[in-house]
Symmetry: C3
Subunit: 681 residues, 3 copies
């Protein structure tokens, strides 16, 4: 509760449109670069690497995040001079630096001397040296040692003018189940609940005789357990990550100039939900992540949506801290992207709000787990075929940076993404077919087809800027969230709730009001019974599958939008979607997962009802993305298909990449156009 | 051996037709109800729950089986008054009570204080609190504590007139591999074999140098091991469960009035064979189990057969202690049954010998692992849509109870189901395609199509009441069992052995007579060689697949029933089934798994040869079930299909549910008819 | 490095054509027999077993390899008299004996008393008694006890004239991760690298901060780790097996007469690569293995190739120490081979260089894990149907032995198989579709279609005898190997390298010269970039899939053999295969996995260019195998298909099995012909 309130307060403090607060270096231009590991190479080589970077248009590198054993080869013995030399040499080539703190990979001497710093997994197995992420985020000793090394690094290079940002750790992944973490868990519960009576009551532990009479009895593992416990465990893990990261951020804040930004790279699984990614970004200046394709090719909607999710973490532009130079090394089939597709991917991220694209990695170490990953430079030290395509991105960014600096996507429609709800459904799916990301994307596609920008934000985010808000699978609706959503509707907003919404309260208990629980009164209707479907059921104009709910309107002004047809007997002719106008706003409930045609029709109508102005139409396979700011509006067009496309423009636009003005644009496969209109919206 | 003899003696003591011994309360009428957890709810709510139960026709509830932490909140501190109040309040609504002993879920204080009571799994991992079944059935301390709590409960409510039965634990599932269990295993072996020389000889431990020179060397885990050891381990586990359960039954017998029955609910996996379910039911008054469908819909043959199996555990009527109110929460897709299907399922179990149907559960706790399970009452405390269908079952049962009380299925044909054989084949399958339950069902379907009742009983059960007995996959035939079967044949019975029969002796050793081992002489033929098939082979009139044996008739009166065609070379034109008349009886051996047409033809002929009178014909998708007793014969008809069906009756029958008499009946999908004829057969 | 040099030196010491060194008993005739376990049966039965063996033509048995508990029933108490009696009784039937040392199955008293002798697996779990292979190969105590028992056995029967050979252990399988093994690993690394600085440098441990400052920090487990470490771990495991085996071989060498051979049976997974099988055969006299089919039927190419691989382990004839009497007991479907197929399998192994075929097993123990395995004798002690087919093999071998003794396959073409490369690709596959054995077989099939004999040998083997050498996936090319291959080419040899060749050096580091690394200069070309393919790409005359490399010719005389068509953009019209003549020899590089037609065409051309004389043509489904020696040339023809085949012979040949001479031969399905020509090649 306290956490949610904090989030809400944090939101309230942010003016709704202030997506891009006074930019630190992070958003002053478009950044291009790669991850570079000078500690892996003879110093004599460094200049040639930087020369080749500069030659393809790089203006940034990330360094240091795996260099602990180089910086502190044995306990208390430091060598930071090389890092300073690398930073300064980069400056000579006008390449800025982001420093990674090396806490993702403790040296062998550290974990050898202090095995209590090693992570213990859900099976009780202690991690060992040889890979990465072997440390415990909950270890007091490890946190102390992290402060120490981060402080030394900040002392050494924190005030170098060439250093523009810091990344804390890399790709936060696995929590730990060691004794220190266990103690922290019990302390966390005690702080939250105060008494075991309260915990027993809220978790309903009379069920299965689970009642706790001592805090230490409460299980601490990631197995299947009481849903109340499981949801709290996720929140505890989130808080452990926040504390682990904050421990380093505190040191950095105290030592770094204000112009320098702090981020963490949250890795390549944008949708992942091991912990709450809104919370982890609180206290950071910029969100960043990895955009990797893996096997196959770019799925434009899925990748667009996940970049929107990342933009939503802080509701401002972000960095793509890693992306693939053609291919990766870890996918089932680590194939190469098509020629031009690496560039299209970079531009898609920019179109969705990225201000930086860094390739992983510049050059592969000669040994180690990732020697077969795509890179810009081969083991012989000379450019690989992909280098030329990256150089083209470099040229693009140089041209487009003035137009795009200070702009960001400006959406009037948002999709809500809520970790509590995702966890709650993950814990109790009822059917293996319910794919929450897939459900979200089913709503995303028709909205994105209509608009150059769609937001994906937390349920607790400020909503007044949106004309339409869609909340798929909002399973957990605490009272505070219900009030927040009701206020949006009463303020004239149009809210759509998807199925499974409002079943649970903040303790993952069943709400004693039928769905949508605390919003049922506002809706003037409720769910009589939910059903996991083994067979599709008919609805007006199409079908529903996987999940359907039996709805009832309980007030005269609750209108039935859609009905089931002859279905499974239980649903026949009952309402499948109901809506109720509330002042100038409205609240709508979809009771089932509808097919594409039905969903598309419903959302087109919703856009019209909410008076959302559609962006200009583009052919299928072409994606339109828009960024706005400082009086400029920039449209980015990408042809994601395998055939050429012709796009008529609604007005004359300036062609940023090729010069001149256009009224229409032809796009080859993987073709990109960046078009500016000076006028305000 | 001793165990088998005990079983045979137990059988001998039971008159063959005495399927329904002097009924305790368990079978005095049709029972309907659900599992109710008063300890999870405010006492003020109880009356409303009982009122709603009574309103849908309930006459029984099960309570208490997860209430240990409520009854004994800390060691030695008891509160049983609430339980007494709940029992007495139910009495006011004329709702009888079955009390569950709560030993499936020890409280946190218990396992926290005495971790030696926790189960250790096959990987050596000790279970923890937070789910259920975390206890060791072999822990002397846990057994002592179970006696204590059960005694306290019996003292408190054992003599309440409203309590009609007790259930010991719930859904016995996993054995334990803790040190106490290990010691018990070695003691068990020593008691069985006396000397290691004998064990070494019977297990042939010279193979792979396994010879044991100390009892403690004998492995104790569920991994792949010597088949003799593995079979004994299953028997040991059975004996551990028997002792764990008997420990509580002894307390209850000493304290309860004679009218009260004792059962255990053996859970939803009727076919499961973690332990011997005939043995576990010895010493109980009534068998009970859970009939859950999970994903999809009712498979009428499979579900009918498994209910017959359950009836065979004690060879008398049984209870369905749990069934789904529409849907469950644990299946891959936990879909709802069709309207009417829940009722059809209830009636099918009654048709196969159930005297009680209880839904799990009345109302879901607000938190805990199963909050999304189907229930009769929603989280808001009011009926869910399924409630009306359950009320229809209530009305049905009220009308039908007088006709059905004291009746049970009366089969003239039995299928033998043998745990030793199932284990032996599980341990050494030779082909992953050999599905023992599937093989049994292949015989069951044509027999059930012909008859209103088919028994599924232990191989050691009394057989004289049957005209025809089919033993599929009777892999293990100890000498005593061979004598039992030979006696049946010599007494005029008709015995069919399926393939894989008679390969092993009681120590899971290869019999040194070729199959069917000790019955080969009686058969006058034998198996030359068995073959796991990778391709089907031809037989007269069809094919065989998965398994085929090369048979030879060795006496002139052993007749070849069926031959292989041009098959795989080894089998070409050899006998595929042979039979030999023995007095008025016969013994037949099927050497292969035949296709449906061939199996159907063989079994139709077998019914005719055994002079079994077929019941009246019904359309496909309609199932006919019969129960008899006290001079009444009741036919239950269910339309399991999705289309209406017309059934002509062989004589005028009384329509129990709708009144009047009928000469034909029309059944909608999921339709049920209950028809009585007064005359004896 | 030292290991590789030793191997090269060992090769250098072996004259290239000396595939069959002065034969010990192993190759003086064709051997036929089975595994016999007299310790499992009453001594009174032995004579009947031996009589039945003799009757089907057996001339050898293997005994003893699971008899430790019979020989040493308690510590220090020996009984070897029975073994001596068994050996001498066999002699009476003129059946020779191979003695197995029983170290695969320590007795229960041994591991009970000394648990430090038990293997610890990769999950840290200590093995237990009850199966086999529960011992640690690295345990000093176990090695000492192995010396002791082997010495006792050699003392007892080592000088029996009837004993012709010894097999050390059986089917070496799993290494151990116990503390003694861990110490040995660190000692091994220290001996190899001398200093941690060197190790850190060669493994590039600056990557992921893996730098080691103490030998004990180096991980010891089989998980994913630094590729340099992983490759060394495989070499360490190999050395542990070599030492474990050498420990016993030393005892035997000291006690046995020179005429007696020593082998180990390397089991049924011929392609397996848990350790280096060239190294394990060094120091043995004869290679032996198990040829099991498992589910389904004989894949003639795959089984032919794996027998060639086995022949290549020592580059001489070998023993099939176990094969299936019709069927096994462990396959998913353990079906029977077709009538005649067991004989065809035996003859195929002889055609590929086997001098002995032993069935497993003679008779199954009455209990134990393998009682359902195929055998020659049933549990009743009389022959099973397969016995007659084995007797036919006995008759065949008696007729053919004079012609075949002293002959062996004499190939002019070799395929290189390299464990370092297989491991390196296994560790870093980049695509799950790259099946190294499948790739090898794609080259093998067209070569085998053209030739009666193809060798599969180590990359370091002497190559001068071959006109054409194909190296598929030769990923790891140390400098010494590069020199060896270059020398072959410069000496007039024709070398084809497949894709992925020459990427890594001996430390599994990326070679800093682009592929094929140290052979790029000789090739006059290189790989610009490799690609794992998710879609097929076009090449002249067909397609490539799974893997393709972008080649460039860098010298005028490097000729493009094949080009990509319009492919994935990156490869369009680039070279897909290049070749360069070097004196009379040539070096060729295939950049992709081509389809069958393209591969066949390329290899047909390569055979022509290398002036390899093709053997006479036979119909599809018929396999031609040739053995030569002592002035004889023997052709073995097998019809692996399901239809009869007619084969025209190029000259008149002597029909060994049926007598007379032939100019053509008709082969029924599974039909075998053995045809001799007296003339020299």
């Amino acid at each position: 509760m306290k956490r949610l309130l904090a989030l809400l307060l944090a939101c309230a403090a942010t003016p709704a449109l202030a997506q891009a607060p006074a930019p630190k270096a992070a958003s002053e231009r478009l950044w291009l670069g790669s991850a570079w590991y000078p500690e892996q190479w003879p110093e004599a080589r460094w200049a040639e690497d930087l020369r080749l970077m500069k030659a393809h248009g790089a203006n940034v590198v990330r360094i240091g995040e795996y260099a602990w054993s180089r910086i502190e080869p044995s306990e208390g013995v430091y060598d930071l001079a090389w890092l300073q030399r690398a930073v300064r040499l980069a400056a000579k080539y006008d390449i800025k630096v982001v420093i990674g703190t090396p806490t993702d990979t403790p040296p062998a001497w550290l974990t050898g001397t202090y095995p209590d710093t090693l992570r213990i997994d859900t099976n009780g197995v202690r991690a060992g040296h040889g890979g990465r992420r072997q440390f415990s985020i909950s270890s007091p000793r490890y946190r102390a040692m992290a402060r120490e090394i981060v402080g030394k690094m900040a002392d050494a290079v924190g005030n170098e003018p060439n250093v523009i940002g810091w990344q804390i750790g890399n790709e936060h992944t696995e929590e730990s189940y060691d004794p220190a973490a266990r103690d922290a868990w019990h302390a966390w519960l005690k702080a939250k609940y105060g008494t075991l009576d309260k915990l027993n009551d809220l978790w309903a532990t009379a069920y299965w005789s689970q009642t706790y009479s001592d805090w230490d009895q409460v299980p601490f593992n990631a197995g299947i357990n009481n849903p109340g416990l499981m949801l709290d465990l996720k929140r505890f893990i989130t808080d452990q990550w926040v504390a682990f990261q904050g421990n380093q951020a505190d040191v950095l804040r105290a030592k770094l100039p204000a112009r320098v930004f702090i981020t963490t790279n949250l890795g390549g699984l944008g949708w992942a939900n091991r912990f709450d990614r809104y919370a982890i970004n609180t206290g950071l200046d910029v969100a960043s992540w990895d955009d990797y394709v893996g096997t196959g090719h770019l799925d434009a909607y899925r990748n667009g949506a996940v970049n929107d999710l990342v933009r939503g973490w802080k509701r401002q532009n972000f960095w793509v801290m890693e992306t693939q130079p053609g291919f990766v090394n870890w996918a089932p089939v680590s194939n190469m992207l098509y020629p031009g597709e690496t560039r299209a991917l970079a531009w898609q991220t920019v179109g969705h709000g990225a201000d930086a694209v860094l390739f992983w990695q510049w050059r592969n170490a000669l040994n180690g787990q990732e020697t077969l990953h795509g890179s810009l430079i081969g083991p012989d030290g000379t450019p690989l075929p992909i280098y030329a395509e990256v150089a083209r991105i470099g040229a693009d960014f140089a041209k487009a940076s003035p137009a795009l600096a200070g702009t960001s996507p400006n959406a009037k429609v948002a999709i809500l993404q809520d970790y509590d709800s995702r966890w709650a459904i993950d814990f109790q799916p009822l059917t293996k077919e319910y794919d929450q990301i897939g459900v979200l994307l089913d709503y995303y596609r028709p909205l994105k087809n209509a608009l150059g920008a769609v937001d994906v934000v937390a349920a607790a985010a400020p909503l007044t800027r949106y004309k339409l808000v869609v909340a798929p699978s909002l399973n957990v609706i605490p009272d505070a969230l219900a009030r927040h959503l009701a206020e949006y509707v009463r303020g004239g907003g149009h809210l759509i709730l998807g199925p499974r919404s409002g079943l649970k309260d903040e303790f993952n208990r069943l709400d004693t009001t039928r769905q949508p629980g605390p919003l049922a009164d506002l809706l003037g209707g409720q769910v009589e019974q939910f059903y996991a479907l083994d067979e599709s059921v008919a609805v007006d104009g199409g079908t529903a599958s996987v999940w359907a709910e039996d709805l009832v309107a309980k007030t005269p002004d609750a209108k039935v939008l859609l009905r089931y047809g002859k279905a499974n007997g239980w649903l026949d002719d009952h309402p499948a979607a109901i809506t109720r106008q509330v002042g100038k706003g409205s609240i709508t409930y979809y009771g089932a997962l509808f097919d594409k045609a039905v969903t598309g029709k419903l959302l087109d109508q919703a856009l019209a009802d909410a008076k959302v102005v559609r962006d200009f139409a583009v052919p299928a396979d072409v994606e339109l993305m828009t960024r706005e700011g400082d009086g400029r509006r920039v449209a980015i067009l990408i042809n994601h298909g395998r055939a050429p496309q012709h796009v008529a423009l609604p007005t004359t636009m300036t062609d940023i990449l090729n010069g001149g003005t256009l009224q229409a644009v032809d796009l080859a496969p993987e073709g990109v156009a960046v078009l500016q209109t000076g006028g305000k919206r």
